[in-house]
């Protein structure tokens, strides 16, 4: 079961996203109030690094960004030093904690034509990706030799509609994008060509794909859609660019599924739904090859009083889940195996 640990009400209006710091010891949230909140473990004592169901979380910093519109997504760099903030005002700002422990904006990235929907940092830390209603997925690199020089590495107009989410592979610089055009696309860097290429398109969902995530090995993808289903995809061993849908989980969600997160520590899948519920899916251990990729609904809870916009598993502490909602709350949960 999912046990509620903290209920944090520090935003005015919808909270659109939560993102864990790579260490798992803090997280950021963002929303309509154009602020980014940074939360930490309560009473972070130096001796106790473990995060348990008794760990409480509190607001550590409120960054009143200068964004002119809603902040839709926030992402930490793998080194934990930078936070990328994506706004409906078509810009992305990059923040760094300075010597006085305050966050300051080191640079603003322009390039998208309209609302930026998502931003995500690559596992190598070399790139970050963004996507927008302008149908583009853009890949950027930042050289931080004192100058915070942003280079545009690649632009992809592969989607035919609004792109909702960009997510990276857990260990390699492989990118996924999810779109209003009902597809998911995969991008890889081709050193021979000197450019990134869209290497695969995953079709099958009957409506907008709101979010995607990889499993811990990066060999499977889970996707969440407006069509109220989530799907599992794998690629073939002889062609890593050929993905096929191996499982469709339908009938569980009563409204669009807005986010999905595949825990890299315990393999559980969490979903955020427009019916205010969070659902946890657990994979059934397969006896043979044919029985792989079968998931059972392990738990469901009415988590918020409105649409759940994001769910994200803590990258380090097993079973800790963050969620946020249109109801203005950010909640931290602990999965307890019963």
């Amino acid at each position: 079961m999912l046990k509620l640990i903290s209920n944090l009400n520090n935003h005015k209006g919808k909270v659109w996203s939560v993102a864990w710091n790579p260490t798992g010891a803090s997280f950021a949230s963002c929303g309509e109030d154009k602020a980014v909140n940074i939360y930490q473990k309560e009473g972070s004592s130096n001796t106790d690094n473990e995060i348990t169901e008794d760990t409480r979380w509190t607001l550590a910093k409120k960054i009143g960004t200068n964004h002119e519109r809603t902040i839709r997504d926030v992402a930490w760099s793998p080194c934990g030093k930078y936070i990328a903030v994506a706004s409906f005002d078509a810009t992305i700002s990059i923040w760094e904690k300075n010597k006085s422990n305050e966050y300051e904006c080191v640079t603003t990235v322009e390039g998208h034509e309209n609302e930026v929907k998502s931003v995500s940092w690559s596992p190598s830390g070399q790139y970050f990706a963004s996507c927008s209603r302008d149908k583009n997925v853009m890949i950027w690199s930042m050289s931080a030799d004192g100058e915070y020089d942003i280079e545009c590495e690649s632009v992809h107009s592969a989607h035919t509609q609004d792109v909702k989410r960009v997510v990276w592979h857990p260990t390699e610089d492989i990118l996924l994008s999810a779109s209003y055009d009902d597809t998911i696309k995969v991008y890889r860097n081709d050193p021979n060509d000197g450019d990134w290429a869209c290497t695969a398109t995953l079709q099958g969902h009957e409506s907008t794909v709101w979010s995607v995530d990889f499993d811990s090995t990066g060999s499977r993808i889970v996707s969440a859609s407006d069509d109220r289903s989530i799907r599992i995809w794998t690629n073939s061993k002889d062609n890593e660019n050929r993905w096929s849908c191996v499982s469709k989980l339908e009938g569980y969600h009563h409204r669009p599924v807005y986010d999905v997160s595949w825990s890299k520590t315990n393999g559980l899948i969490a979903t955020a739904c427009g019916d205010d519920h969070i659902r946890i899916f657990k994979e059934i251990s397969a006896v043979n090859e044919l029985e792989r990729n079968v998931f059972d609904l392990a738990f469901t809870v009415k988590a918020h009083s409105s649409d759940v916009n994001r769910v994200q598993w803590n990258p380090k502490a097993e079973g800790i889940l963050a969620s946020c909602s249109d109801d203005g709350c950010v909640k931290i949960w602990k999965w307890i195996d019963v």
Partner: protein, 496 residues
């Protein structure tokens, strides 16, 4: 908006903003008050009243759309795009040329001249596909046995267009020369004035309409750094209509100028208000046609380019003893496959500093950007060739920040990755295995196999300058320079 033929940059910026600036969808010169209708408000689009040969072209003059139609779609289809394209459609071109041919055959004096300018990159694209299979071509080139294929293609195209009804078919080299010379002069001047106005550098080439439209719409702060020299297409247009025309007793609207180019962005460029000769209600370039469209056209009439006998290329700028050589051959320029702008300016600056070395372009962070440097006593002079959207993004970003000090002094920007040889309306590879980049490499090899133009050896350049007169005068500036305009974003006030 997935119309092929345009550069990828234009596809993202939505064409309608360029030609339908007003929410009333009516050209600003003649505002029409919408009469309130009981049912739905109606929106009308009117075209520029441009006449060709004294006759207003046969395209839909007024299109009425219901407001409900407007709100239902996400890209006002009737504005701009389809009207623009229909005005410059191959069908329209064929119709006009045929009419000309019929008049001339019937010996009716229509005082009409149809001239086609062949863009070098487009010719190369067609040559690669139509003339010989790759292996045979390599052999031919190696043995120098026959005419270099692009030359033969240019002459076959001359035969093709003349068969359709064109009076003259010319190459674009002369206009390219003028463009290079002026770009050089402009750069030297800006460099000399740099202490007075440090923000006047970098200079960024303005010959790519994809880049220009993108900057006007999304990065207006970059406009002051764009070179004001017109593109070769437009220079040729005004040369033909304002310099050549008068010499043969043709007013601009009695000349129908078609240019064969590698992308649809050039159609947009040809329609710019700045390139309409207001007095005569005539455009410098009346129509742009592309390899993709020629391919479709040939298919629709069931013919092959090789069905047409090659014809000699014309030289309308024959003066004095009318020596040929230039104007009768397809030629390349040293440097990039798009026309060698950065290379040319590098060379003249090199010469100024007394350095006699070949240009070494060093590839940068990706294959589509390269840089070359001239070391001088007062510091390095940096030049760059950058193509493709990601590099443009990086450059405009830097322009806005204090990083602009690190930018090269001259930047040649082309919207299409690798440049005009990879234009949006070039022919795709027949070999499905061959990637876009490989094809671009092939085309670039073919381009550089062409005889390279040596500006100083072009006798017509001097003569044209004599005809253009005073550099401060109207003719000189009309022919060689233009201005750019920031485009207001139409804000419908929708908040998501």
């Amino acid at each position: 908006m997935s119309t092929p033929g345009f550069s990828s940059i234009l596809k993202l910026t939505e064409l309608d903003d360029f030609i339908a600036p007003s929410q009333e969808c009516i050209k600003p010169a003649q505002p029409l008050k919408p009469t309130p209708q009981p049912s739905a408000a109606k929106v009308r689009i009117e075209l520029e009243d441009v006449s060709i040969g004294g006759v207003v072209p046969q395209v839909p003059q007024k299109v009425e759309i219901n407001l409900t139609d407007c709100l239902a779609c996400s890209g006002c289809i009737t504005s701009a795009e389809s009207i623009l394209i229909s005005q410059q459609s191959p069908e329209e071109l064929v119709r006009i040329l045929e009419k000309n041919k019929n008049s001339k055959q019937a010996k009716v004096d229509n005082n009409f001249l149809a001239i086609v300018t062949l863009g070098t990159q487009a010719v190369i694209s067609l040559a690669r596909k139509y003339l010989v299979p790759p292996q045979e071509m390599a052999e031919r080139l190696a043995a120098r046995k026959y005419l270099v294929p692009p030359q033969e293609m240019a002459e076959r195209l001359a035969g093709f267009f003349k068969d359709l009804g064109a009076d003259k078919v010319i190459t674009i080299t002369l206009a390219e020369d003028l463009c290079l010379i002026e770009s050089g002069k402009e750069f030297v001047e800006k460099l000399e004035n740099i202490n007075r106005d440090p923000t006047s550098l970098p200079i960024i080439s303005g010959v790519c309409p994809g880049w220009v439209c993108y900057a006007e719409k999304l990065h207006p702060y970059a406009i002051k750094n764009i070179s004001r020299v017109k593109s070769p297409q437009q220079i040729m247009g005004s040369l033909l209509k304002l310099v050549y025309g008068p010499r043969v007793n043709h007013s601009p609207d009695e000349i129908y100028h078609v240019s064969l180019m590698s992308c649809f962005d050039r159609k947009l460029e040809a329609s710019r208000k700045d390139f309409i000769l207001e007095e005569y209600r005539s455009k410098e370039v009346d129509s742009v046609i592309t390899p993709l469209e020629i391919e479709n056209l040939l298919e629709s009439i069931g013919k092959h380019l090789l069905d047409y006998e090659p014809a000699n290329l014309d030289n309308p700028f024959e003066f004095g003893n009318g020596s040929l050589g230039i104007g009768a051959s397809i030629m390349s320029h040293l440097g990039s496959g798009s026309g060698g702008f950065a290379e040319y300016i590098f060379r003249i600056m090199s010469a100024k500093h007394g350095i006699q070395a070949d240009v070494t372009w060093i590839v940068g962070r990706n294959p589509d950007i390269s840089e070359a440097v001239i070391p001088t006593p007062t510091g390095d002079l940096k030049f760059s060739v950058a193509t493709g959207f990601r590099n443009i993004q990086t450059i405009v970003r830097k322009l806005k920040t204090k990083m602009r000090a690190n930018l090269p002094h001259y930047i040649e920007i082309m919207a299409c990755p690798t440049g005009c040889l990879n234009g949006g309306a070039q022919l795709r590879s027949q070999d499905s295995e061959q990637g876009g980049r490989e094809l671009s490499c092939d085309l670039e090899k073919m381009y550089h196999e062409l005889p390279a133009e040596i500006l100083q050896d072009n006798p017509f350049v001097e003569q044209i300058y004599n005809l253009l007169g005073n550099p401060d005068g109207k003719l000189y500036n009309d022919v060689l320079y233009t201005d750019f305009h920031a485009i207001e974003k139409s804000n419908l006030g929708i908040k998501w």
